[in-house]
Amino acid sequence: MIILETKNLSKDFSGLSVIDDLNFSLSRGEKRAIIGPNGAGKTTLLRLLTGELRPSAGDIYYESTKISGWSSHTIARQGIARTFQIVNLFLNLTVEENIRAAAQVNHLWLSWSPSIRQTTETILALIRLDNQSRRPVRELSHGDQRLMEVGVALAQKPKLLLLDEPTAGLSPVETRALTELLHQLRDITIVIVEHDMEVVLALADKITVLHRGQILAEGRPLEIQENKQVQEIYLHKNSLASERSEQ
């Protein structure tokens, strides 16, 4: 069953096309990775899906309802949550306040809903930051702030979770912990934009390769790895880049 679909979606900035006539669909419950070289339009696609950007043309359907043109907060309230490539949290508020803010959003405005405390505690335990709940987020390590990004998104109780390079800047140990956490999320449809192929292969049921705002290839991880065009345009470059960074 399709949860999200884009039809002839395009986005250009001052005539420069970043997403070009894109037809993309996602089944409920699947874990999809989006990969592609820098400038392929991956983050722009996430920004279009969450209403941060308005499409230049085409439409977005979520659970069969057209959501293109809707505001970000309305889309978020339908069950689409997003994490950011660069940490984007309430840095001066505590860990608990950040999670609670996201958990409370769909409840009453003048009294705290009793279920909020439980949701907050569950999320804090899941991201293993329950022992740091009173600390301001700005005092956390980069790895923990990345976990907080995921925690805040999960506290929204999303049906569709969009992760924008969640492991960027993490150590191998932290990357493994985050991958394990994402593995545990069975009932949520996940879209992950990621450069780390190990994370992609460990998580994704299916991979979409974007190139110049269009789908270059789509399929199961093994099919993508063996795709010659993908190897030429992205995977080869990516492995060279990883080799260089390892050196």
């Binding site: 505001s71 984007n88 949290l89 309430f90 803010a101 003048l110 705290w112």
Partner: protein, 317 residues
């Protein structure tokens, strides 16, 4: 500091203020009454600026409207004090809703400029519309006493004015303290901290800004109406943006985003001003300015920030 200690402190201060007329002079009572009224104005400003991060230079508009709403309705229609108070409050609420609808969509510097313009327009209108407002000379009026059965408390009595301003301030403080602790109050803090992220989580930022703008405007209107009733005089200068700037200074001096800080800041600056004006009659604004600069340099989070770091240091040692 725990909530129970805060409540005990608040109760002690309330009792002290309630007993104050028996041991302080009439002049000091008058000074305290002014602090209560302008403190309420600062409280309403703190909601907008300290909690939500909206720096408005047009907050004086609602103070002026509250004051004129009460003054004109009492002067021309011989209404009771409570009806005048209600009309001042309603007028401020309606205009705040109208202006708020237009300005909350404007962001950062634009918001400061647009709100300053609203204040300038209202000030010039009030100044020129002499027949209605009295312009710079203002208008005076008399208010019927507060009556409870056969007992009457006239507004000409300083003690009545003192208790009247104190009661309104206390009621408003308790309400606003509760409001800032609800999810709605917490949502305003999210806007101050990271507006974009709050929107992405699902908070309707523009609507939330509108709500806080109207509530803050209404409470500024209530402060204005209380000012009118206790002074029985209003003038065009109440709309001037400089009054909004005073609100900013009082809030920053006490500590923004704490409510109690806005009250402390107003009280401290009023008292410092009184004291320094006795020390150096002509040049006291220079001294007040120096005190302000020193506080901003060494305690950017105001008096409440100083108190907080003191308690934290004590807790650690």
């Amino acid at each position: 500091m725990s909530v129970s200690i805060k409540l005990v402190l608040l109760l002690l201060i309330t009792v002290l203020l309630a007993l104050a007329p028996s041991f302080i002079s009439v002049f000091q009572l008058s000074l305290l009454s002014s602090i209560f009224i302008w403190g309420l104005f600062a409280l309403s400003f703190d909601l907008l600026f300290g909690y939500t991060g909206l720096l408005s230079l047009g907050h004086s508009v609602y103070f002026g409207l509250g004051a004129y709403g009460a003054a004109l309705s009492i002067k021309h229609f011989q209404l009771e004090w409570w009806a005048g108070l209600g009309i001042g409050l309603l007028l401020a609420l309606m205009v705040a809703a109208l202006i708020g609808f237009l300005v909350v969509r404007v962001k950062s510097h634009g918001f400061i400029i647009v709100t300053a313009v609203t204040s300038l327009i209202c000030f010039l209108l009030a100044q020129r519309w002499n027949g209605l407002t009295g312009g710079d000379d203002g208008i005076s009026f008399s208010v019927a006493p507060i009556a409870l059965g056969s007992i009457e408390w006239p507004f000409s009595s300083q003690i009545v004015r003192y208790y009247f301003a104190l009661s309104i301030l206390l009621l408003c403080f308790i309400f606003l303290w509760w409001l800032t602790r609800t999810p709605l109050g917490q949502a305003w803090k999210l806007i101050r901290e990271n507006e974009g992220r709050a929107e992405m989580i699902g908070y309707p930022v523009t609507q939330l800004k509108f709500v806080v703008f109207v509530i803050a405007g209404t409470f500024a209107g209530l402060a204005g109406a209380t000012y009118a009733l206790t002074n029985r005089f209003v003038w065009a200068g109440l709309f001037h943006w400089i009054i909004s700037a005073d609100g900013i200074i009082w809030t920053l001096f006490g500590g923004a985003g704490t409510l109690i800080g806005a009250l402390l800041g107003t009280g401290a600056l009023f008292s410092i001003k009184e004291w320094l004006s006795e020390v150096w009659k002509t040049g006291y604004p220079l001294l007040v300015g120096s005190v302000l600069l020193l506080l901003i340099r060494f305690a950017p989070n105001g008096l409440m920030g100083l108190a907080r770091s003191f308690f934290e240091r004590r807790g650690r040692s």
